[in-house]
C-alpha cells in the first residue's frame, strides 16, 4: 500500500528545453526507510496486520518517585502502568489504563501523516513523468520539505498538558483529583509527567498568574483546568528513549538535506543559463 518510491530518481531537465539537458538527481531513497523506521504502518493496511506492541520502561536518574511501563502500538498508547510514590505519606499509588481504551499519541500520528503526504507528493505521478522546468521541481521540493519539516517539528515540539487533557479519562480507576498526567514525545524520548496539584481558592489572596501553554510546568506554576485554578506542588518526570524515533529524526534531517541539495543544484544550473528565468 505504500507507494513505491523504489526508483528514487527524479528526472529534472533543468532550464532550457532546446538543450534537453537532464539532471538525474536521486531524491531521498531514505524516505522509503522513513515509513519503516517510524513504524508508521497504517492500521489495517492488510499484509502486515496490527502494529506490534512495544513496552518502554520509563525512569529517571534523579528520582525514583515515579516508575512507569508504557506500551506503544504504532501511534497509540495501548497500556500504561504507573507507580507513584506519594511524597507526603510514601503511599504507593498505582495508575493503569482502562482495558478498552487506547490513547493516540497525536505527535506520532501527525508526524506519520506528514510523512505519508510527503511520500504521496513524490509518488503521485507517472514513472515516466518528465519535469519541464526547474521551478516545477523547486515547487515540489518546497512542498515535500514543508511536510518533512512539519513532521520533524511535531516530534521536537512536545504536546502541552492542555492537548493531553483527554488523557485523564483513560485511567481506571480514575485519577485522583489532585493528579494530572501528560504523555508526550520530546525528540527521541517518550516522556511521562505526573503533576501533583492543589486547587487555589477562587477568592484566594494569592496572585493568580497563569503559566500559559508551556510544556513542563514547574512547581509553583499556576494554570486553569476546566473551571478550576490549580497550582503545581510537585512534578515527576520520567522518560525513555524510543530507538525508532531516533532513526526517524535522523532520516528527517537527512531527507531535508537531500531535498535542499537538489534545490541548490537546480538553482546553480539555472543560474548558468541566467538569461532564462527558471
Amino acid at each position: 500500500c505504500i507507494p513505491a518510491l523504489g526508483k528514487g530518481v527524479l528526472r529534472a531537465p533543468v532550464s532550457s528545453e532546446e538543450e534537453g539537458w537532464l539532471l538525474p538527481v536521486s531524491v531521498m531513497p531514505q524516505s522509503l526507510h522513513l515509513e519503516a523506521s517510524l513504524r508508521f504502518t497504517l492500521p489495517g493496511s492488510g499484509t502486515e496486520g496490527p502494529a506490534k506492541q512495544e513496552n518502554f520502561i520509563l525512569g529517571s536518574c534523579s528520582t525514583d518517585q515515579v516508575k512507569g511501563v508504557l506500551t506503544l502500538q504504532g501511534d497509540a498508547l495501548s497500556q500504561a502502568d504507573v507507580n507513584l510514590k506519594m511524597p507526603r505519606n510514601n503511599q504507593l499509588l498505582h495508575l493503569a489504563f482502562r482495558e478498552d481504551k487506547q490513547w493516540k499519541l497525536e505527535q506520532i500520528q501527525d508526524a506519520r501523516n506528514h510523512v505519508s503526504q510527503a511520500i504521496y507528493l513524490l509518488a503521485n505521478r507517472d514513472e515516466n513523468y518528465q519535469f519541464k522546468t526547474g521551478a516545477e521541481v523547486l515547487k515540489l521540493m518546497d512542498a515535500v520539505m514543508l511536510q518533512l519539516t512539519r513532521a520533524r517539528n511535531r516530534l521536537t515540539t512536545p504536546a502541552t498538558l492542555i492537548a493531553a487533557s483527554g488523557l485523564t479519562r483513560m485511567f481506571a480507576p480514575s485519577l485522583p483529583s489532585d493528579l494530572l498526567v501528560n504523555v508526550y514525545i520530546n525528540l527521541n524520548k517518550l516522556c511521562l509527567t505526573v503533576y501533583q496539584l492543589h486547587a487555589l481558592q477562587p477568592n484566594s489572596t494569592k496572585n493568580f498568574r497563569p503559566a500559559g501553554g508551556s510544556v513542563l510546568h514547574n512547581p509553583g506554576a499556576m494554570f486553569e483546568w476546566g473551571a478550576q485554578r490549580l497550582e503545581v506542588s510537585h512534578v515527576h518526570k520520567v522518560e525513555c528513549v524510543v530507538p525508532w524515533l531516533n532513526d526517524a529524526l535522523v532520516y528527517f534531517t537527512v531527507s531535508l538535506q537531500l531535498c535542499q541539495q537538489l534545490k541548490d543544484k537546480i538553482s546553480v544550473f539555472s543560474s548558468y543559463w541566467s538569461y532564462r528565468p527558471f
Binding site: G44, K104, D110, T156, L187, S274
Partner: protein, 1114 residues
C-alpha cells in the same frame, strides 16, 4: 496597505506566475476563483458563452492556498472562503475582490464545506473544515472563529475528504468523511446543531473501515439517494448508502492516479485523474441485464461481495461512455472540479486548473453517450485560458514601468527588470535589469510615460541614467541612505547573479568599489541597524544563494566576514550589538552565531535551543529601546516578513507581497515627512519576474497640498514655482481665449480643444522634467550641507511641485476617460492632466494586508461594458448612476463653482486639483468608515432629518466636523458642513449599499469634474462680473442661470451634430452627440435612471437600482 492608499499596478508584459492549487466556479457561473501556490487568488469572469477572462488578483495569503469554498448562500452574498498552508483564512467578496473577514488559526485545512440550515441555525452558517489535524472543525462562517468540533470516538485521525448528505427521504443532513487511514465516519448534522452550539461533544454515529488509502473524494448520489461514490488515489468504489456495502471497485490502469469524482445523474458518474483526464461511466445494473441468469449469478456475486449476510438489492458495473483529456504538454498536478447545474441557462461544466496556470473547461452534455460502436466518445475542450493570454490580448494596458527604455535596447528583446528599489526622498526608481544594466529614473515620469497619452513624448527626455558595470543579471539593490540618513546620499549597492557586489555613486555614475564574493547569486542585501556599529560605521550584509552571508564595510571598501557554513537557506539575520555577534537563522531552524571581528563560528545550535537563542535576541533588543530605533526599525521592516525587532531580517523564499506592501506603507508613515507617492516592486515566489505598484497616499497628498497654500510656491526662493506659474497662467489665458472664440463662432469646441492638449502636455512635461532635475540639484546641495535637515519647510516647498504632479497623475488614473469627450478635453486643458492610454489596473485595499489588483483586460469582463469601447477606464456601469445621483444632490452647494469662477490661472488649476483630492479623500474615508463610527453618523442623520432640515449647526455638526476635521480648514471654509450634508448622507448611503470604494471615488470625481467644468464653460459666456462674496442672493441667481446655460449647450451640441457644414470630422460628430446625451443625463438623473433600468442589463443591476430608489435619499 492602508485604505487611504490608492494603488495602480504596472504589470509589464509577463503575467505573474499563478500555479493553480485550488479552483472553483461560483454558483452563478459568472466567476471562476482560483488559488495559487504563490498565495494569490485570481478571479476570472466566465461569460455566458463560457469564455474566460482574468479579472483581478487578490493578495492576502503568504503561503500556498490549499482550498476554496463557498462561504455564504451565494444568491445572497457572493462570498468565498480561502485557506492557506499556514492557517490563514480569508472570506472574499468575489464581485469586488474585497476581503470581508480574515483569521489565522493554527490549523491547515485541506477541504472546507459550507453548511447552513436556515430553520435551525442563527447566524451565517458553518464552515466544516478538515485538514492536518484530527477530526472536523466547525468554524463560524461570519467570524471565522472555531465553534466546536465533530469528534471521533474510534481511532481519531486526519480527515481527507468529506461531503454533506442532504436526503429528502430521511429529512436529516449528515456529514460523511473519510480519514487518512480509510475510515468512513458519519455524523448527524442537522440534529446536532443545538449540541454543537452548546459546546457539547458530538461523536460519530457510524464508522466503517473502507480498506483503501488516500481517499480523494466522497460523493453521495442525490438522484438515487442510494449510491455513494468514494474515489481513492488508486481505485474508486461505489457503496450502498443504506448499509455501506461495497457494490463495485474499479482499479486505476496504466499508472494513473485518481483525483476526484462527481455524480452526474442517476447511475452516471464522472471520475478525474491527477494528470487531467476524466471519464464518464454509466453504472449498469448487472441483474437487470442478466435477466434469466439471475439465479446462477446471484450466488456468485454474494460470495464476491458479502454484505453482512444480507442479499444485495442490486449489483452494478461501470460502462465507459465518454472521456476528456488535455494536451500532452502538461504540468502536474491538476486540480479539477465539476459543476452540476440543472437549471437553465447554466451549463454542466468540468473544469481544471494546472500548475502552469492554465484553466480548461469542458462543457459536459446533458446526456453523454458513447459512440455507435460502443467505444467511448471524446468530449472536446470548450475553452482554455491562462493569465498570460490576458496580458497578450490587452498588451496596451499592461505597461511596465520601464517600458519607455525599450527604445534604447536592441529591437530583439525588451529589458526584463530583475530587481528594483524606489528612493522616495529623491523620487528615483532604480531598476536592475537582466542584462546587467541599472537604470535610474524619475519614478513619477516613468509612470507617466507608461500610463498617459502624450506621455510617450517624455520618452526621449534625458531623465534617466544608465549604470553599466554588472555583466550578469542584477539580483538585488540597496539604497543605504534610505535606511539610515547618516550614510552618504550618493551611495547605492547592487548585487548580481555572478556574486559581484558594486558600490556606486549614483550622482556621478561612478563605480566606487567592486566586491567579488564568489558565493553564487546575491539574493539579498541588508544593512545593519543603527544601533549596531563597527568602528562607527554601519555594515552591509549580503546573503548569497549558496547560503553564505558576507559582511561588507562600505567606508573601508572591504569584506569583513564570509560565513559559509550554512546548510540551509538563510531565513533570519540578527545583530548582537554588545558582543559583536552576527546571528544567522536558517530554514531548518538551526542557528549559527558568528563573531564579526574574528570571523569565527562561535556556536551552532539546532532545535529548541536555537529557538531560545533567536527569541533571546529579541529580548535583548527590547531591553534597551533607543529613541532613534523606532524609525530605523520601521524601515527595516521593509525586508522583514515577521516584523519583530529592529535588528532582525527575515528573508528567504517567502517574499509575500501582501506583507511587503503593508510594511513599506508603514515605512512611509514612520517618516517625519510623509511621501504621497511610492513605487513598490512586487515579486512572486519561484520567479524573478516582478511588477510595480504605484501607491498614492490620498491622505498625505491632501495633507501636503492643503496646509501650505500654493501661494507659497511662488515665493522667491523657489524660482521654478513662479516659472511654472507664469507659464501656466499664459497657457491658460490663451486657452480661455480660444474657447471663447469657439463659443462665439459656431461652438465647434472639441476640434480645437483636442489639438491643444498635446502641445500643452509636451510643454508641461518638459518643464516638469527640468524642474525635477533642478529640484534635485537644489536638494543635493542642501543635503550635502546639512543632510540632517532634510525635513525642513523649504524642502517641502520644493516638493510642492512634485506633489501637484503626483496629484495630477493620480487624477489621470482615476478619471473615467471617454465618458464624455468634451469633458476629457476640458480636463486636459483646465486641469492640465493627461489622458490615459488605456484603462489602468486599479487596486482596492480591504485592510492592512489584503488587497486586490485589477488585471489587464478587466474592463472587458463586464459584458455590458463591451459595446462601449470608447469608454476608457470606467470602473463599472454603476459609476455613471452614482455620479448622476451625486450631481443631483450637488447643486445645493455652490461653493466650488463660485470659487472656480475666478480668473483662470494656475491657482485655479491647483486649487481645483486640491479640491478634488480632498473630496476624494472624504469619500474614501466615508466609505471605509468603521462600523461604530458609521452608526454614530447614521444616528446623526436621523436626528438631522427629525429637525426637518432646519439648519442647526450645533453639536451634531461638531460631531461630524470632528470626523473629517482637518479637511475643513480655512481652505474650504466657503462651504460649511451643512452644505455638504446631503452629499455625506448620499455617500454613507452608498456604503450600506456595498458600493465599492473605487466606484464611489470615481463617481464623485466624475461628478465633481463635470460640475467644475460646467462652471468653466460657463465663464466665457457669463459676462457678468463674478463676486466672491458669500451672498445668498447670488446663489439663487446662479442656479437657474446654470440650467439655462446647460440647455443652451445642449442645443448647441445638437445643432452641431445636425449641421454638416461645421468643420468637424464624422468621428467627432459621434462623440459630440454622445456628450450631448450625457449632458442630458446629467441634468435629468431620474430620466437617466429610467433609461438605464430599461436597458437589457443584467439582473444584478436591476436589484441595485431598486435598492437605491428605496432608500429615498436620492
Amino acid at each position: 496597505m492602508k485604505t487611504s492608499l490608492q494603488a495602480v499596478a504596472l504589470w509589464g508584459k509577463n503575467a505573474p506566475p499563478h500555479s493553480i492549487s485550488a479552483i472553483m466556479i461560483t454558483d452563478d457561473q459568472q466567476t471562476i476563483v482560483t488559488g495559487s501556490q504563490e498565495g494569490q487568488l485570481c478571479l476570472w469572469s466566465l461569460s455566458p458563452e463560457l469564455k474566460i477572462s482574468a479579472k483581478e488578483l487578490l493578495f492576502g495569503h503568504s503561503t500556498s492556498v490549499t482550498c476554496l469554498a463557498r462561504a455564504r448562500d451565494f444568491s445572497k452574498q457572493p462570498y468565498v472562503v480561502s485557506a492557506a498552508e499556514n492557517g490563514e483564512m480569508c472570506v472574499w467578496n468575489v464581485t469586488n475582490g474585497q476581503c470581508v473577514e480574515k483569521a489565522t488559526l493554527p490549523y491547515t485545512h485541506t477541504a472546507i464545506c459550507y453548511y447552513h440550515c436556515s430553520f435551525r441555525m442563527t447566524g451565517e452558517g458553518w464552515l466544516l473544515c478538515c485538514g492536518e489535524y484530527q477530526d472536523i472543525l466547525i468554524i463560524d462562517a461570519k467570524t471565522l472563529a472555531v465553534i466546536n468540533t465533530f469528534t471521533s470516538s474510534q481511532s481519531p485521525d486526519w480527515i481527507n475528504c468529506m461531503c454533506i448528505v442532504h436526503s429528502m427521504r430521511i429529512q436529516e443532513d449528515s456529514l460523511l468523511v473519510v480519514s487518512v487511514t480509510g475510515e468512513l465516519k458519519v455524523w448527524d448534522l442537522s440534529s446536532s446543531i443545538n449540541s454543537i452550539q452548546e459546546k457539547q461533544v458530538v461523536y460519530e454515529k457510524e464508522s466503517k473501515f473502507l480498506d483503501s488509502l488516500n481517499c480523494q473524494t466522497i460523493r453521495f448520489c442525490t438522484y438515487t439517494e442510494r449510491l455513494l461514490l468514494v474515489v481513492f488515489s488508486k481505485c474508486w468504489k461505489v457503496y450502498d448508502y443504506c448499509d455501506f456495502s461495497l457494490l463495485w471497485t474499479e482499479v486505476s490502469r496504466n499508472g494513473q492516479f485518481f483525483a476526484g469524482g462527481e455524480v452526474l445523474a442517476a447511475h452516471r458518474i464522472l471520475i478525474w485523474t491527477e494528470d487531467g483526464h476524466s471519464y464518464i461511466y454509466q453504472l449498469l445494473n448487472r441483474w437487470a441485464q442478466m435477466g434469466a441468469a439471475y439465479k446462477t449469478f446471484s450466488g456468485l456475486s454474494k460470495s464476491i461481495y458479502p454484505a453482512d449476510g444480507r442479499v444485495l438489492k442490486e449489483t452494478i458495473y461501470p460502462h465507459l461512455l465518454c472521456s476528456t483529456s488535455v494536451e500532452e504538454n502538461k504540468s502536474l498536478p491538476f486540480v479539477m472540479g465539476y459543476m452540476n447545474e440543472r437549471k437553465e441557462p447554466f451549463y454542466k461544466v468540468l473544469f481544471s486548473g494546472e500548475v502552469s496556470g492554465r484553466i480548461t473547461l469542458w462543457h459536459i452534455p446533458d446526456v453523454p453517450i458513447s459512440k455507435f460502436d460502443g467505444s467511448p466518445r471524446e468530449i472536446p475542450i470548450t475553452t482554455t485560458w491562462t493569465l498570460q493570454d490576458n496580458f497578450d490580448k490587452h498588451q496596451t494596458v499592461s505597461q511596465s514601468i520601464i517600458d519607455h527604455f525599450s527604445g534604447l535596447e536592441d529591437e530583439a528583446g525588451t529589458v526584463v527588470v530583475t530587481s528594483s528599489e524606489y528612493v522616495p526622498s529623491l523620487d528615483k526608481l532604480i531598476c536592475g535589469c537582466e542584462d546587467g544594466t541599472i537604470f535610474i529614473t524619475q519614478a513619477l515620469n516613468a509612470a507617466k510615460a507608461g500610463l498617459l497619452e502624450g506621455g510617450s513624448l517624455l520618452k526621449d527626455s534625458p531623465s534617466h541614467k544608465v549604470l553599466k558595470g554588472h555583466h550578469q543579471s542584477v539580483t538585488s539593490l540597496l539604497y543605504p541612505h534610505g535606511l539610515s540618513s547618516k550614510l552618504d546620499q550618493s551611495w547605492m549597492v547592487s548585487g548580481d547573479q555572478g556574486s559581484c557586489v558594486i558600490l556606486w555613486n549614483i550622482f556621478t555614475e561612478d563605480i566606487l568599489h567592486k566586491f567579488f564574493l564568489e558565493a553564487g547569486p546575491v539574493t539579498s542585501l541588508l544593512m545593519s541597524p543603527e544601533n549596531f556599529r563597527l568602528r562607527d560605521d554601519q555594515i552591509i550584509c549580503c546573503v548569497c544563494s549558496d547560503h553564505s552571508v558576507s559582511l561588507l564595510h562600505l567606508e573601508g571598501r572591504k569584506c569583513l566576514l564570509r560565513a559559509r557554513k550554512h546548510l540551509f537557506p538563510v531565513r533570519m539575520i540578527k545583530w548582537h550589538p554588545v558582543e559583536n555577534f552576527l546571528i544567522v537563522g536558517c530554514a531548518d531552524d538551526s542557528v549559527y552565531i558568528w563573531e564579526i571581528e574574528t570571523g569565527t563560528l562561535e556556536r551552532h545550535e539546532t532545535g529548541e535551543r536555537a529557538r531560545i537563542i533567536l527569541n533571546c535576541c529579541d529580548d535583548l533588543q527590547l531591553l534597551k529601546p533607543e529613541p532613534a530605533l523606532s524609525v530605523a526599525s520601521e524601515t527595516h521592516k521593509h525586508k522583514s516578513i515577521e516584523q519583530r525587532s529592529s535588528s532582525s531580517h527575515q528573508l528567504g523564499p517567502i517574499p509575500c507581497p501582501g506583507l511587503q506592501v503593508e510594511s513599506s506603507c508603514k515605512v512611509a508613515d514612520a517618516k517625519s515627512f510623509p511621501t504621497p507617492f511610492n513605487v513598490l516592486p512586487v515579486k512572486t515566489k519561484w520567479s524573478n519576474v516582478g511588477f510595480h505598484i504605484l501607491l498614492f497616499d490620498l491622505e498625505n497628498l491632501v495633507k501636503l497640498l492643503l496646509p501650505t497654500p500654493l501661494s507659497a510656491a511662488d515665493s522667491s526662493n523657489s524660482f521654478y514655482g513662479s516659472e511654472i506659474l507664469r507659464r501656466a497662467k499664459s497657457t491658460v489665458e490663451k486657452k480661455t481665449l480660444t474657447i471663447k472664440r469657439n463659443k462665439t463662432a459656431s461652438g465647434s469646441l472639441s476640434a480645437e480643444a483636442q489639438a491643444k492638449p498635446l502641445n500643452d502636455g509636451l510643454i508641461q512635461g518638459n518643464n516638469a522634467i527640468k524642474f525635477i532635475e533642478e529640484n534635485d540639484d537644489i536638494k543635493r546641495q542642501k543635503k550635502t550641507k546639512s543632510s540632517k535637515k532634510k525635513h525642513t519647510k523649504a524642502s517641502r516647498k520644493v516638493d510642492a511641485n512634485l506633489t501637484i504632479d503626483t496629484a495630477k497623475l493620480f487624477l489621470s488614473c482615476l478619471l473615467p476617460w471617454g465618458v464624455d469627450k468634451e469633458l476629457d478635453n476640458l480636463c486636459i486643458n483646465h486641469l492640465n492632466i493627461l489622458k490615459l492610454q488605456g484603462p489602468v489596473s486599479l487596486g482596492l485595499a480591504s485592510n492592512e494586508d489584503h488587497f486586490s489588483l485589477m488585471l489587464p483586460g478587466w474592463d472587458l469582463c463586464n459584458t455590458e461594458m463591451k459595446k462601449e469601447y470608447s469608454r476608457v477606464n470606467l470602473f463599472s456601469r454603476k459609476v455613471l448612476d452614482l455620479s448622476n445621483k451625486y450631481t443631483a444632490t450637488l447643486p445645493n452647494h455652490v461653493g466650488t463653482p463660485r470659487r472656480l469662477e475666478n480668473n483662470c490661472d494656475s491657482f485655479e488649476e491647483s486649487n481645483a486639483i486640491v479640491y478634488l483630492l480632498s473630496r476624494l479623500f472624504l469619500v474614501n474615508k466615508l466609505v471605509n468608515m468603521p462600523s461604530e463610527l458609521a452608526c454614530d453618523f447614521d444616528r446623526f442623520f436621523k436626528t438631522e432629518s427629525m429637525h426637518n432640515k432646519v439648519k442647526s449647526p450645533g453639536n451634531d455638526i461638531l460631531r461630524i466636523s470632528s470626523f473629517y476635521g482637518y479637511l475643513r480648514n480655512d481652505k474650504n471654509e466657503s462651504h460649511t458642513p451643512d452644505a455638504d450634508l446631503p452629499l455625506l448622507k448620499l455617500i454613507s448611503c452608498w456604503r450600506d449599499q456595498s458600493v465599492q470604494v473605487t466606484e464611489a471615488i470615481q463617481a464623485v470625481l466624475l461628478a465633481e469634474v463635470q460640475q467644475h467644468m460646467k462652471s468653466l464653460r460657463k465663464t466665457p459666456i457669463d459676462s457678468q462680473p463674478v463676486s466672491t462674496a458669500e451672498n445668498g442672493n447670488c446663489e439663487m441667481m446662479q442656479i437657474p442661470k446654470k440650467k439655462e446655460w446647460t440647455e443652451e449647450l445642449e442645443l448647441q451640441c445638437i445643432r452641431n451634430t445636425s449641421a454638416p457644414q461645421t468643420p468637424v470630422s464624422p468621428v467627432k460628430h459621434d462623440s459630440n452627440s454622445n456628450s450631448a446625451n450625457f449632458q442630458d443625463a446629467e441634468d435629468m438623473p431620474d430620466r437617466c435612471v429610467l433609461e438605464e433600468s430599461e436597458s437589457p442589463g443584467d439582473p444584478r443591476h436591476h436589484s441595485w437600482m431598486a435598492k437605491v430608489c428605496s432608500c429615498k435619499v436620492c
